[in-house]
Symmetry: C2
Subunit: 139 residues, 2 copies
């Protein structure tokens, strides 16, 4: 496979990671995502990792990079579908996935992105960052 | 990878095929899909083949089997994301994918499933569809 598909669902983008991401594929995915966020005006990115048995520091860094990159382009990122065993290993490895939002499944991830968007669009007086940070605290 | 992830999005299921499906993985996917249709009450299945360079008779048969199986469980199937080159090869091979619905992308596939559902449920009056339509609107 030469690239990981980026699927547009309404005003969100969905990426389902199913293969080992080596350097080239990772770079390609980040480029594709940035391009699609700009071309579609998507306000959210959902990354599904149901198929991953292991999330190591390389994958953790990739997820953090995608989240930061999306944020710069005014889109929020939610990682969904983490297996219980992956969560346990992550914490044992001392990788807390800081700065990365997670949700149990795609439906809940979509709901989270919708809520974030509403906070972002509304609530006069607050800056978008405040809203996002508040929600991240409680989610 | 031991199985292809089946993602639930509202009352639809989404499968993104990114790896070569050998026999075991194909059987597993069909079992998983049937199980998820029953457990979630999904009324539609979207199969994304963006990542596939080739759709041969094996993959064609698998898609047809999934469509038939879903139909028995009262769910419709739409195949989305076919590359132009794949379509050309399919026709050259004499494989027309008969009995399989296709749409250009996930958004259009979702719209098709929604329309099919409305026809199936029977015209105005509505109810079960309202929820689906709401979700489609915001997603």
């Amino acid at each position: 496979m030469d690239r990981v598909p980026v699927l547009k669902i309404g005003d969100l983008l969905l990426v389902s990671i199913q293969v080992d991401l080596e350097d080239r594929l990772t770079t390609q995915l980040q480029e594709d995502l940035a391009e699609r966020i700009v071309s579609t005006g998507a306000h959210g990115v959902i990354i599904d990792i149901t198929a991953l048995d292991i999330v190591d520091s390389f994958v953790g860094r990739m997820l953090a990079t995608i989240a930061s990159m999306s944020r710069v382009l005014d889109a929020e990122t939610v990682v969904v579908g983490m297996r219980p065993a992956v969560a346990i290993t992550l914490v044992e490895l001392g990788l807390g996935l800081r700065g990365i939002r997670t949700a149990l499944n795609v439906d809940l991830g979509m709901a989270m992105l919708r809520d974030l968007r509403q906070l972002h669009m509304g609530l006069p007086g607050t800056t978008p960052e405040d809203g996002a940070r508040d929600l991240a605290g409680i989610s």
